[in-house]
Each structure stands twice: as structure tokens, then as C-alpha cells.
Symmetry: C2
Subunit: 584 residues, 2 copies
């Protein structure tokens, strides 16, 4: 059978940085060429980054992306890579698209270019545009409806983009056109349960089409999304031939023996699984036999907590780096949330770039202060202490407040200090709240909720504890000092805004709370169904009422990395003004 050496470039584009992304494509194309690859594939929307949101509506941005593809074609030849086949995702527009492709003129498309010999050999336009969950692609793109098959080394390769294999149609069309390899470019965001789903999906499409399938995904953080890589090649039985790591930049190279193209050039009127198919012959003849790479990489999977931990770290690191920051600052209370955020930050950007501020009040416990100091000692992060009692006094002398207003005052004074230090020194402030707090509004808006990025925004409190224990255990397993003081993990959680206050005074136990949040938020289930599952009626009513009432706070919360099936933010669009209260 004909051979093909395929390279999948699992790399990290930056939204809007077309020159920088182009440089990366060139660098990885050179490496692929040097390693003898015949085809190198890059992720969906590689040249623009992903998702670009309303940048798709700017004509000058579309132009810049199109120019970049043309420039790339020329530069590849200049660099001696003219014989390499480069498949790269980018933003295109239907202006100059042949009428036969049947798409409206002048609209943006989510496209892939096949570049070789200094020319764009063909272009594919994503057919299935996702418009659910975190995706709004009907807002930004028009769908293509013609499949593209490339012939390289005498092998027919079908080319599709991401959602095209999550829904039926395109993969079947490529199978009907008898392609031997289905190449899928992806910008597929991480969530905690997607990993096996991805392999299962690739295996299913491979078996359905009786073809090998190669799936290349990006890595990196983009606002509230994280991309994990996990690029994969499966054979027609669905078995893994090669797999890249998670959250790592890699060029995954695999040698494939694939059936020679059998099918004749399609007639323009032929339909394959309902689709028109265009075939572009790049090289019609198989190469002389060569020695394949002995053992392509099959990376081990991270365990569940390790995966989430890496996702948050990558989201944080890329938000910092891509937005031009170097350092971060957060309030450290000695509690589990700010401690975990600090440790993640130290791992992600180095403890010398992490600044903690401890702001004890008269209600702060002694162990809060010592735990914060111990955290700094163990991690090497910076720690300053600014007591807030003098500020509290000047406010309470000027205005008469008590109860909740007086509790929130303390949280807001802390935030004023953090923001002043941020403005003075250029630190990015991190908000340390978790998903459970954000769900029920157990946080002070403009207080502990301030920040440019919120690493734990999509992490329920119970998972915060699990990640903390996992991080300490990992350190211990490596013979290192666990970074998180044990007391921080074991003590009962408290906001410490009034004497002896505990979270459990206001909220049900977190184990219970997080289950109800999961049912209501992630699954859109109603209170009646949740109670029918056996949860206490009064507790369910209380939790759902708290979630409903806290929407205004969530709208003003900073972005944080999505790690669950449904995050607050892009994937949760609920009106603030909303009187819907289900009757029980």
C-alpha cells in the first residue's frame, strides 16, 4: 500500500496575532519537512486563533487572514518547503469563491487551506457550524457544503473541520468518496469529561468510514476556554496509532500505509452521501518504499485531577502571557481557595511572579495568618501584609452600617488595596472564588470578586479540595514538600467577615450543594426533578433561589477557564431580570 508520513502540529495560536501565528506555522512546517513528513496539518483557525468572535465581522481582519495564507504559500517555497503539503485553518470570506460551491458572497467562513508548491491547491469551508454551548458560529460564519478530497502519494485524503465529525454528514460523504484517510482540523475546547468521548468519536467515524482518521487539536488558553491538544490518529478499526500529550506543544509524526485511491474523478453532478465532492490531485503516484518511524508516540493520559489542574494552569498562564502581564497578585486568606490559586499560579508562571497580600481584620483567626505565611514559605511566592482595621474604622465613622453591609465592607476594602497595588505595580489581580460560591452568590461583588481572571471560576468547592489534596500528594510522591499547609485543607471553610462565622451557617454542606448545582446548572433540571431524586425539598428550593438571585453578580465576574461541561459565562446565558420560579 502507498505510504504517507503525516505530521500533526499541536500548537498554541494567539487570537488576533496573525504574524505570530504565521511564524509558528512556518517553524513547525520546517520541522515537519526536516523529519520527512509529506503532509503537515495545523489546527482549525490556526492563523487567526480561535474563537475570534466578532473579529470575524471586521473586513480588515478577514483580509489580513487571507493575505497571511497567500504569504505563507510564497514563504514556504522561499524556505525550500515547496514540496510539503501544508493544511492550515484560517478565516476566509466567500467573495472570490466559485459560484459552483453555492455559498452566499461576501460572508466569513471557517476555512482550511491546502498549500503546496507556492499555491493554494484547494480550500475547504466548515460545513457544520456549532451554535450551542460555548459556540456561536452561526453568528460569525456561513457554512460550506462541498467536500474536499486531496490526493497525496496516490492516497485520497478527506478534509473536514471539528464539528463536521461531531454531527453526521461530512464524514459519511468522505467515506462514500472512498477516502483512505480523514483529516480533521480542530479547535475543540477542554472539559473534564471530553477525553474519552474524543477517542470514541474518532474511533466511531473511522470504523464507519473504514478509513484511518487523524485529528489535530490546538493547545492554549483563550479567555474562558482552554484547549488541551490530545491530537490522535486511529486506524480503521478505531485503534490508536499515535497520540500527542495533553497541554503540551508537539509535532506528532506518524507513518501510515493506506489503500491507494480507487475512485475516479467525481463528476460535478455526482453526490456522495448527499454532498458534492471536489478532488484535488497533488501527487498521484505512491512513493518508493521507505523505512517508517518505528514507534510513533502514544502519550499516556493525565489522571482526572491532573488534567483539570493542568487546564487551569494553562488557562491562567496564557491569560497572563497573551495579555502582556508578567506578574499576578491575589489576596491570601489562609483559606483553601486563595491557597490553591496561589499554588496553581506558582506552578504556571513561577513563584517569583506571584504576589500574595494578607489583609487580616479583627475577625481573622490566628491560623489564617500563619497558614498564609506558611504557604509563602513553602512556595517561595511574595507575601505582604496590610491590616484593614484602620480603613474599616474610617468608613464606619463616616457612614452607619451593620450586618451584611459591614461584612461586605471588609471584603471591599481588601479589594481596594489589591487594585491599588495592581495599578501601582502592574500585577494582574486574580479572583479566588470557586464555582459553588459563584453559583449561590456567596461572595462580595467588588470585594473578593475583583480581578482580571478567576482560575477557580468553574471549579466547585468539593473539587477545590480534591485538587489541593492531589497537588500535595503529587509533591509527596516526588519527594517534594507539599505546598499547601495541611490545616488549610482540613479546617472548616469560613469567610471570616464576622466573629466565628462559618460557610455552613449560610449554606448546606458543600457535598450536597455541589450536587444540586450540578443538576440545576449543568443539566438544566428543575427543582421538581431534583427533589424526586431524593434531595431535601427545602434545601433544593433554597439553593435554586440563591442561584437565580445571584445572576447579577455573575455578570460582573471576571473570566476563568471552563473545565466543566457547562461554565458560568459563555455557556450560561440567563437573564438577570427573570421572575421564573418553579413551583414545587
Amino acid at each position: 500500500m502507498p505510504q504517507l508520513r503525516l505530521a500533526l502540529a499541536q500548537i498554541n495560536p494567539t487570537v488576533g496575532d496573525i504574524p505570530g501565528n504565521l511564524d509558528q506555522v512556518l517553524t513547525f512546517s520546517k520541522q515537519a519537512h526536516a523529519e520527512g513528513a509529506h503532509v503537515v496539518a495545523f489546527p482549525e483557525m490556526m492563523l487567526t486563533g480561535y474563537p475570534i468572535e466578532d473579529l470575524a465581522l471586521r473586513a480588515n481582519f478577514v483580509d489580513a487572514s487571507r493575505v497571511a495564507v497567500s504569504d505563507l504559500a510564497k514563504t514556504l517555497v522561499e524556505e525550500g518547503l515547496g514540496d510539503l503539503v501544508v493544511v492550515v485553518g484560517y478565516l476566509d470570506c466567500t467573495d472570490d469563491i466559485p459560484d459552483r460551491l453555492g455559498v452566499p458572497k461576501g460572508a466569513p467562513t471557517n476555512a482550511a487551506a491546502v498549500i503546496t508548491g507556492g499555491e493554494i491547491a484547494t480550500r475547504y469551508f466548515k460545513h457544520h457550524l456549532p451554535n450551542y454551548g460555548v459556540f456561536d458560529e452561526f453568528r460569525w460564519f456561513v457554512p460550506g457544503n462541498v467536500m474536499q478530497v486531496l490526493q497525496v502519494n496516490g492516497i485520497d485524503i478527506g478534509l473536514v473541520i471539528c464539528e463536521d465529525i461531531w454531527q453526521d454528514g461530512p464524514s459519511a460523504a468522505c467515506a462514500a468518496a472512498e477516502t483512505s484517510l480523514l483529516l480533521v482540523l480542530n479547535g475543540s475546547p477542554y472539559d473534564r469529561n471530553k477525553d474519552d468521548v474524543r477517542h470514541e468519536l474518532c474511533a466511531r467515524r473511522a470504523r464507519e468510514g473504514e478509513c484511518t482518521l487523524a485529528y489535530v487539536n490546538m493547545i492554549g488558553g483563550q479567555d474562558d476556554l482552554v484547549f488541551e491538544g490530545d491530537s490522535i490518529v486511529v486506524d480503521k478499526a478505531g485503534d490508536i496509532l499515535a497520540r500527542a500529550g495533553q497541554f503540551t506543544e508537539e509535532l506528532l509524526i506518524v507513518d501510515l500505509d493506506l489503500p491507494a485511491a480507487t475512485s475516479p474523478m467525481p463528476d460535478p453532478d455526482d453526490r456522495f452521501g448527499g454532498f458534492k465532492v471536489e478532488r484535488t490531485v497533488i501527487t498521484a503516484n505512491p512513493l518508493s518504499l521507505y523505512e517508517p518511524i518505528a514507534h510513533p508516540e502514544i502519550a499516556d493520559r493525565l489522571d482526572d485531577f491532573g488534567e483539570v489542574y493542568e487546564a487551569i494552569g494553562m488557562g491562567l498562564r496564557d491569560y497572563v502571557r497573551k495579555n502582556g502581564f508578567r506578574t499576578v497578585l491575589m489576596g491570601v486568606s489562609g483559606g483553601i481557595d486563595s491557597t490553591l490559586v496561589a499554588v496553581i499560579a506558582c506552578d504556571a508562571i513561577g513563584s517569583d511572579n506571584v504576589y500574595g497580600v494578607s489583609n487580616p481584620s479583627k475577625w481573622s483567626s490566628e491560623h489564617s495568618r500563619t497558614d498564609a505565611a506558611e504557604l509563602a514559605r513553602r512556595t517561595g511566592m511574595h507575601l505582604d501584609t496590610v491590616a484593614i482595621a484602620p480603613m474599616v474604622d474610617t468608613f464606619t465613622q463616616a457612614i452607619e452600617i451593620d450586618g451584611l453591609a459591614a461584612e461586605n465592607l471588609q471584603a471591599r476594602i481588601r479589594a481596594v488595596i489589591w487594585m491599588a497595588l495592581s495599578n501601582q505595580h502592574g500585577h494582574l489581580v486574580l479572583a479566588c472564588g470557586n464555582k459553588s460560591e459563584l453559583a449561590v452568590g456567596y461572595s462580595t461583588i467588588y470585594g473578593d470578586a475583583v480581578g482580571g481572571f478567576a482560575p477557580l471560576k468553574d471549579v466547585p468547592k468539593t473539587l477545590v479540595w480534591e485538587l489541593a489534596k492531589w497537588r500535595n500528594a503529587s509533591a509527596a510522591a516526588r519527594g517534594e514538600v507539599p505546598p499547601i499547609p495541611e490545616g488549610t485543607i482540613t479546617k472548616p471553610p469560613s469567610a471570616e467577615l464576622s466573629p466565628g462565622q462559618l460557610d455552613s451557617d449560610s449554606l448546606p454542606p458543600y457535598e450536597l450543594l455541589d450536587q444540586i448545582i450540578e443538576e440545576y446548572v449543568a443539566k438544566d433540571r428543575g427543582s421538581r426533578e431534583i427533589v424526586a431524586d431524593g434531595f431535601d425539598k427545602a434545601t433544593v428550593e433554597k439553593v435554586i433561589a440563591l442561584i437565580d438571585r445571584a445572576e447579577y453578580k455573575r455578570r460582573q465576574y471576571p473570566p476563568g477557564p471552563k473545565v466543566s461541561g457547562r461554565n458560568f459565562g459563555r455557556d450560561w446565558r440567563v437573564p438577570i431580570t427573570n421572575r421564573w420560579r418553579e413551583k414545587l
Copy 2:
């Protein structure tokens, strides 16, 4: 020709409040019946409110809406309104929809029910789902694709929903089915330039279809959208037969003489303009001649500034009311923005419910204090004064800051005071920033940007001045004291955060700034095109760089009423992490 008395109920639903919305439908149905109407039409999604966003994805909410329609049918009969034809928008689901309608099962739809004689005579499902601008209807609904024609008094009435007439197709299908009247249910948000567009559109569709057209729209505020009403009936020449006011609750009643139905019952295989059509005969025979209403209302239009002013007031009033607040609080600096917000609030909810707080610092000018006091005197609003010098001192003793950090500190201390008073007394805090500031980030996050609602969020600074002058002139024309002190309008704008500071130290003149913002934000034009229009290159580059860098602040800003063609918020979805900088 057969006669029809048609009532259009231009009313104010609340999102999620199905029982309350149902009550309103019943009340207006009774009134329509009492006035002899044969058909009463309510807005799009009347029973659920609009837009409901992700509530559409909750099965229990869909069920509640469906139950409400059935309940309504029964109650209308119990109330003696069984002969009235009630057309009402609601949320439905395709579970029980006949297979012949060809929609996927189990998906939400944006629907209209035709209720008479205690039954749902037929249902229509919106065909064109807008998914641009402020709309995301592909996320929430599946489209219908069968047109519905009702016969009442022997007159054929086509029934469509909102976007169905903004795009081609449904109106032509109804015309092809020879309907005499096209009835359009709408949830069509206000923007400053839509008014004439709406009449022009209705007139065009009426002329195209050679039919009378009746357009019923809702009123009210919903988070960042405002609905203005402006319900209208045009004859087949496009001339106005009746028109309701803007921002007012009304039952618009009009008598129509319309051609009798001519077309036979359609065969299931017939196509009209490409669509299947179903016809439901409610009453096949014309009524005996009756005396029509002599002069149906044709309301005068508000002038341009009056319209914007009313839109903001309605947005504010409904945010307050529908979210269970009674009172609002804002910092009043003596500047034009906070003064205009205070006056709008006094007009919208009564000056006794408006609390101003003046927070002079050592950089506050004398006229700022006297202007704030004069504002309170003229409007009757409450005014407290809390000087911030003592708080500034305690912070600056604890941390070393200067420059911008010290400026922002003052703004944040003010915000802490407002929020403390809000927590203590239950006031909704209003953010007073305008669109120009929000565009270029000329505001302090967690300082003057705090609040639950931002009335001027979509109002550029130049329009702030115009609205202020308009409000004063309107008062003078009515022989009232103009509420805004003259000095507030004429003095040069200043944040007063450092000695002698003026906005013009940091920003180009607002007349120029607002034009560049309009080109870049509203029109998605690039810097090259804007410079080609004759704007100064360095100024354009500076303004666009400021806009690009301020995205993180906009994400945490409170909602405010959309009054322009493109608002920051729902209609502006730009990544925070974004390195795109157009080369000049």
C-alpha cells in the same frame, strides 16, 4: 367588503413571570372584547417575556408556557370571551407537533397560538430565527417552515413573527396564499434609528403582498434591551391606518374593510412562495355591516432626543421594578453624567426614590459641590455628603501608591461607600458612565464603574449633553424649572481625581472621539478606512488602541439600555485576549 375589528395589545411582559403575563393577556382580552374586537393580538413571546435566553433550554419552563396557553384557552371561555380570537406569542416545543410540519421533535420553538372557543385553533412557529446583533435564536429555537392562515369573518389572515418580515419568504408566501391581512407579532428592540425603518418595512411588505399589515410590538425594559411599542397598521398602499404611541401601554383598535377570502383550501402538496400553507377557518362568513370606529389613533412620534430619553427611563424603571427594587443610589459629582442619570431616575421612578451621594475629595472643585446641591434642590432627590479624605489617608498610610493608582483609589473609595449604603438600605446602585468612557476605558473599574444598572452605557458623551439640553428646554417649554444646573452643562468635563485634571488632557475632544467610536464600534470599520475619511492618523490609532485595551473593563460593567445600533454587551462580542492591531 367583510369587516374586522382588530385590537393590538401593546403591553409589557416580564421575563419568567408566566402567571403575571397571563393575567395581563386576560385583562387586555377582556378590554378588547368589551370594545367589540373580533381579534386581539399580543406580542411575540408574550407569555414568557422576551428574550428568555437559556430559559428556553429548561424543559420545566417550556412545560409551564405550554400549560399557560391551555389555561388561557379555558379561562377565556369561563370569562365569557369564547368568541374572541386571541393570538398570543409563547414558548412551545415540537414534541407533539404533527410530523407533516417537518420539524425535529423535542426542540423549543418561538410560537404563536390562535385561541378561540376554548381551544387552540392553530399554532405558528417562527420561520426566520435571527442570530446576529443582539439575537441568538439559533441557540434557543428550531425554525418552523409551514405558514398559517386563519379565516375570521370570511377574511384570510396570514400570521408571522417579527424576523419573518425582516427577511424574505414568509410574507411572500402569505401573499401567494392571497391573504388580505398579514398579522405580525413582535419583540423588536428599540434603537435610535429604527423608527422610520419599521414603518418603511411594514409599508414595503404591505405593498409587496397587496394586503393590509398589522404589527404589534411589546413595550418595556429587559436587562439591556428596551421595547418601544410603536405598533402600527398600514393599508396595502403602505399608508398608516393606526399607530400606537412609543413607550406606552395601549390597546390599539382599528376597523378594517378587507377583501373576502378567495382562495380554496390548500392541498397538502401545494406550495405558496416555496412554503406549505395550512388554513384554519374560524368564521367563514362576513358579519352584518356595523359602524366602524371613526378615528383610530395615529400617535405622534416623539422627537429624536425625547425618544432616547424615554427609552433610557423605561429601561431603568423596568430594571428597578422587575428586579424588586424601590430606590436607586448614585454618586453625584456635579458633572454632567451623574446629573443626567439622577434626573432620568427622578423622572422614571420619582425623586423621593432617588438617593444621591456627594463624595468630595481634596481635588473636588467648589462648583462640583454647589452644582450637586443645586441639582438636589431642583429635583427634590435625596442628597448625602460623605467626604473621602479620611479614607484616602488611611489607605495611603498603609500602602505606597501614586499617579494613576492614587487617582483610582479615590474612585474606589467612593464606590465602597455607595455599595455599603446600598447593602444597608437596599438601594440599587446606578453606574453613571457613558458610552464614550466605556469605549476608551476612561473609568475606574470597581470605582465609578460599580452598579447594578448603567443608564448611559450606550449614550456617547456628545449625546449626554444633547439630552441634558433637551431635558432643560422641555422643562422650560412647560414653564417648569430646568432640573440641570446650567454650569453642569457648560463646564469642561473632568474626573477631578487630580489637581486641575480635565478629560481633554487624556482624550481627544468628545465630538471627534465619538465619531471615531461610531466608525469603529458601530460599523466595524478599520483604522485605514477611518483615516481615509480624513481623520487624523495619530488620533485614530490612539483611540482604537484605547478601545481594544479596555475590553476587560467592559466585560465587568453592569448592563444598560441599548439605544444605538450596536451596544457594548449583547451586540459586541470581542475577545479580551486579542492581539489584533491593524497596521496603518
